[in-house]
């Protein structure tokens, strides 16, 4: 089973890396970029086939390690 965990900075948390990327896109002349926030994507291969169990395990993984919930939010998707 394939799954994806997406970790993003909470709103209001300063993201200097996103700001730098935003500036670079603007200087490249990419049209219509209003703002950029940088995050992380984890593609995870799971051995079982129980979707509910997988979701619980991924949440556990995100809470324990993948995200720092002081500053980050996460989203778990089991892709099947």
């Amino acid at each position: 089973m394939k799954a994806r965990v997406t970790v993003t900075l909470k709103s209001g948390i300063l993201d200097p890396q996103g700001k730098a990327i935003e500036g670079a896109l603007k200087s490249l002349g990419v049209d219509g970029v209003a703002s950029v926030r940088q995050g992380k994507v984890f593609d995870i291969e799971l051995s079982g086939s129980d979707k509910a169990k997988a979701e619980a395990a991924l949440k556990d993984a995100a809470d324990k390690l993948l995200a720092n919930t002081v500053i980050e939010n996460y989203r778990v998707e089991v892709l099947g």
Partner: protein, 233 residues
């Protein structure tokens, strides 16, 4: 003082730290590998040194904070044991939940490697008793992620409880934006846990302890720890 210096893959300041501890206490530190599940018997100070544990993968300190030895450190701290985390060690202690908040990328995005000035906010703690309150000391920093941030409520509590022990300042002790090298909230360079027994700080006092280093302002921190532990013993 029986100190234990933790060693994680990618840490590179553990020998500087052990040398500073020996200079202050006259005793060798135990070097404790991250895979250990206990601390040496009789340990009365745990030090988490600086470096780049696990290459700063995921987030600075994130993986080291989950190493087996950290459970032993948590138990040690819960009983009131003294823990000092410097630089990456500070990041590890935050990630381990032993200190609140988080260390973000420096506000101006640059890795900063130079001497900075710190104001010692109070002198009645094990980590500052070698100094006077309001004293300005000069110590080096070397970090890319030292911008301390926490939510408003946490910052209010830290200030209210007098838990900020070291602040970035100008050479004459003024707290201002210019002296705040990395953009840290309230110019925080070092803070303690609720119990006052866990200190995390970004600057490296261990690198200003001998004349050959050009400055010995870092000595006070280690001398204070020795005095505190000898007094307690």
């Amino acid at each position: 003082m029986k100190s234990a210096v933790l060693v994680f893959p990618g840490i590179n300041r553990e020998r500087d730290m052990a040398r500073a501890l020996k200079l202050a206490s006259g005793r060798e530190s135990a070097m404790v590998w991250h895979a250990e599940t206990s601390l040496p018997k009789g340990t009365d100070l745990v030090v988490v040194p600086g470096g780049f544990s696990y290459g700063d993968y995921l987030r600075c300190g994130a993986i080291a904070a989950r190493a087996p030895v950290m459970d032993a450190v948590r138990a040690f701290a819960a009983k009131g044991g003294l823990v000092l985390g410097v630089c990456n060690g500070f990041q590890i202690l935050c990630e381990a939940g032993l200190l609140p908040g988080v260390l973000m990328r420096n506000a101006r995005l640059k890795f900063i490697c130079r001497d900075v000035h710190l104001r010692v906010e109070r002198s009645d703690t094990p980590f500052t008793r070698g100094y006077n309150a309001g004293q300005v000391i000069r110590v080096p920093v070397a970090h890319g992620e030292g911008n301390y941030e926490a939510d408003e409520e946490t910052l209010k509590r830290l200030e209210g409880e007098g838990r900020v022990l070291y602040r970035y300042c100008s050479p004459d002790g003024v707290i201002d934006e210019r002296g705040n090298i990395n953009g840290a909230a309230h110019s925080i360079a070092g803070l303690v846990s609720e119990g006052g027994n866990v200190l995390g700080m970004m600057p490296h006092p261990e690198n200003h302890v001998e004349d050959i280093m050009g400055c010995t302002d870092g000595r006070g921190l280690f001398a204070g720890l020795v005095a505190h532990l000898e007094h307690a013993a």
